[in-house]
């Protein structure tokens, strides 16, 4: 039994990580305290990183943990702590719980069936578990070479974000002044 396990280790691990990620994601929806939700999300992201690693794209796994968990979620946790959010009595769910659930089921069904029909036949060649994936050098070369335009556009987007942040600061400062003097 250990033999078969070790022979299909990546598939098993993939299955384990996948189910766990799904579980953590479901937990996100159920947990009451925002901090617990944040923890669940961090767990999901980490598990996803593991999956990326299993798929062979290690650098993306690294980025996932670095950027998503390390920057985004840390910022989120920081905000939760700053606001000292403790949702003990506030209602958890909005009015649209039941319609939302129904829509969720429909969405899964629709997406699932659409994707199912669009996929090539199961067992497509050369897409097995033994694909090595590509390394960071390949990635870097194509990123700066072939997709340089997208790179530049993203830079512009970052610039826009900086401008937006400055604007937000100014608006908040003006609002603060009006509150003090008004």
């Amino acid at each position: 039994m250990i033999d078969t396990l070790l022979r299909h280790l990546d598939s098993v691990l993939l299955l384990v990580f996948g189910v766990s990620a799904l579980g953590c994601a479901a937990l996100m929806l159920v947990a009451r305290q925002p901090m617990r939700v944040a923890m669940a999300l961090i767990a999901t992201m980490a598990l996803l990183g593991a999956i990326y690693g299993l798929l062979g794209v290690h650098f993306i796994a690294a980025f996932q943990v670095l950027i998503y968990v390390g920057a985004v979620m840390v910022f989120m946790v920081f905000t939760i702590m700053l606001l000292e959010v403790r949702e003990d009595s506030a209602p958890r769910y909005s009015k649209l719980l039941l319609p939302g659930l129904a829509g969720f089921v429909l969405l899964l069904g629709a997406l699932g069936i659409s994707v199912w029909h669009a996929l090539p036949a199961a067992g497509a060649p050369a897409a097995g578990a033994a694909t090595p994936g590509f390394g960071i050098s390949t990635f870097a070369a194509s990123f700066v070479g072939e997709y340089w335009l997208h790179f530049e556009l993203t830079t512009v987007l970052l610039l826009a974000a900086v401008v937006a942040a400055l604007a937000v600061i100014r608006i908040s400062r003006r609002a603060g002044d009006r509150q003090h003097h008004g």
Binding site: A21, P34, V72, T79, L83
Partner: protein, 100 residues
């Protein structure tokens, strides 16, 4: 079950869960986190396809999504903070200023 199918199923489920979370949860910060979950689901599907087809296009797009997600959070949270400073609650049900 095929690996691709499993991963794609997972990606779809994550996306759907994220969207459900946006509709269902009342806390603003929790909604933001659910939006991050949606993005993660999309990332997973992109990586799956990229690895399956062997091109780097998917990976590039994933990287750019990282950048955009970071920026988005960097701006969304301050906006939420500013809103909360006025209304003093994180409950999105209380925000209906744009009604009608």
């Amino acid at each position: 079950m095929d690996k691709t199918q499993l991963l794609l199923g997972l990606a779809l489920a994550l996306f759907a869960l994220g969207l459900l979370g946006v509709i269902v949860r009342r806390n603003v910060l929790v909604m933001l986190m659910c939006m991050e979950l949606m993005l993660n689901g999309v990332n997973l599907s992109l990586v799956t396809f990229s690895q399956q087809a062997g091109t780097t296009a998917g990976a590039v797009l994933v990287f750019l999504i990282f950048v955009v997600a970071t920026v988005e959070i960097a701006l969304a949270i301050p906006i939420v903070l500013l809103l909360v400073r006025d209304k003093r609650t994180l409950d999105l049900g209380a925000y209906s200023d744009l009604k009608g």
